[in-house]
């Protein structure tokens, strides 16, 4: 159990049966009044925000969270298949629970999967991934339209803006936190 005095940015607590992470926290105590713990929290499953003020005698369950090292195997329609790299157990996560992560996931990629009460709720990818460009318009030399970027499609189907010199078949590095192009990589 946590008490309100344990609350701080980044702490994970259980509220109404769901796991939340504290994203913003402020201690206040009006003169002669009681300690108030003002929190902004994000539901780790739905992503919804919760703004709540707690008193010092409020208590919180620790959410039953576990991170497991897994390998992403393949996807079939909206089902994404993963395998635990330690015990080889296989699980399926629905696409809707993976959010933008599907833009960066390629077969056999290693990642951490977060479980809440044995239910997978999130994956954390490497900060940077290298993906092959599968579709790019050639850079028209002499194009003076002034544009210094163009859209390309990578192997996951994700479309992003890159510098004009990137060609089909190139590998590019992408920042998974922002989805932005970082650099062209040579392999």
């Amino acid at each position: 159990m946590y008490s309100a005095a344990d609350l701080r940015k980044g702490l994970k607590v259980q509220v109404d049966g769901a796991p939340f992470i504290v994203t913003d926290f402020e201690f206040s105590k009006p003169g002669k009044g009681q300690a108030l713990y003002r929190c902004k929290m994000r539901n780790m499953i739905t992503g919804n925000q919760l703004v709540q003020t707690y008193r010092s005698n409020d208590k919180f369950e620790k959410p039953e969270l576990e991170e497991r090292k897994m390998q992403y195997l393949y996807c079939q329609d909206t089902e994404y298949h993963f395998m635990d790299t330690e015990n080889f157990e296989q699980i399926v996560i629905e696409k809707e629970h993976l959010g933008d992560n599907v833009n960066y996931m390629t077969d056999n990629m290693d990642m951490e999967v977060l479980f809440f009460q044995d239910r997978p709720i999130d994956v954390s990818l490497p900060m940077f991934v290298n993906l092959a460009v599968t579709k790019a318009d050639p850079w028209a030399k002499g194009d003076t339209s002034g544009s210094d970027s163009k859209p390309v499609t990578v192997e996951t189907g994700y479309v992003l803006q890159v510098p004009p010199f990137v060609d089909e078949g190139d590998k590019i590095q992408i920042d998974t936190r922002t989805g932005a192009y970082v650099t062209r990589v040579k392999e």
Partner: protein, 308 residues
């Protein structure tokens, strides 16, 4: 942590505080920081020290000094409150308290205005001071510090800013939440503001207002939404004070382990005191505003993080 520049400003600030009170014929006192018994206060958790306590405020000793015949006293000291940590809180912080006999909370409000005027006269030429021409820069805001300051009753403040009336908030036991969430952000944003006349339940050592027995002659002073001081006309009826302490002790028993008992000697001596008023001001918070900083940890010589 303050650098040499900051330390000099803090020292000049302390010097200015002291010289104001000395000029006003207040006597500087220094009472023990470690005491065997604290006044019963439901919402303050003391730090224990070998069976005694580190003071949460010098109030008990200073009122005993008033009872013993002092008429104007002040003290600058360190106080301790367990578990209070945040942008505006340190577990160990600096308090300025002053007390005067033959006075009430209105006299203290006048003291606050005069004190700030005196501080500005001494400090506003200095490099680190966020005040120029009587105006305080606080982020985007410019706050005019010249007296007279605004005065707003708690009743009126709730009527103006809160979704529920003060009566409703008291009945729902949500006074603190509503004050912090809806009211405080608007207090003292154009000029400093006195919030005054609290429900009597919220001033366990404050005198009832004449003709309004449900109100206590208590006020707080705010600048830029930040509470800086809490003052009141002292309750000097030792019989009523005993009843208020009994209620406070009962609530403390319900809420937490027993850690306080009736301050008998304090009550005995209180019987000898006539009209008086006293106030506690958060020195680090005021310095924080004057230096244009965002947290009290930035204006003390060492904050807890400086020991990491």
């Amino acid at each position: 942590m303050l650098d040499l520049h900051g330390l000099r400003f803090r020292a000049a600030f302390f010097h200015s505080l002291r010289s104001f009170f000395v000029r006003q014929q207040f006597l500087e006192v220094d009472t023990p920081i470690r005491q065997p018994l604290l006044l019963p206060e439901l919402n303050i958790e003391p730090l224990a020290s070998e069976g005694w306590f580190l003071q949460a405020s010098p109030e008990l000793c200073m009122k005993r000094l008033l009872s013993s015949g002092c008429s104007r006293i002040f003290q600058l000291c360190n106080c301790f409150r367990k578990g209070e940590r945040g942008r505006l809180h340190l577990e160990e912080f600096t308090m300025l308290e002053w007390y005067r006999t033959n006075a009430d909370y209105e006299d203290l409000m006048a003291d606050c205005e005069a004190l700030l005027g005196s501080l500005l006269a001494d400090l506003s030429g200095m490099d680190l001071c966020a005040v120029s021409n009587g105006s305080l820069r606080a982020g985007e805001r410019v706050i005019a510090l010249q007296p007279p300051w605004e005065r707003l009753s708690v009743h009126e403040a709730f009527a103006r800013y809160s979704p529920v009336s003060i009566e409703q908030a008291m009945a729902d036991d949500t006074f603190d939440e509503i004050l912090v969430e809806y009211v405080e952000p608007y207090l003292g944003v154009e000029k400093p503001l006195f919030l005054y006349d609290y429900p009597v339940e919220l001033g366990s050592l404050a005198r009832r207002k004449d003709g309004f027995p449900h109100l206590a002659e208590r006020f707080e002073f705010y600048i830029n939404g930040i509470e800086l001081a809490n003052g009141f006309s002292e309750l000097t009826d030792s019989h009523e004070q005993r009843q208020r302490f009994e209620r406070e002790l009962e609530l403390m028993d319900d809420e937490r382990r027993q850690r306080s008992s009736m301050p008998e000697r304090f009550l005995e001596e209180l019987a000898g005191l006539d009209r008086a008023a006293g106030i506690a001001l958060g020195v680090d918070r005021l310095l924080m505003l004057l230096m244009g900083k965002k947290s009290v940890g930035e204006v003390v010589s060492f904050a807890p993080a400086d020991f990491d």
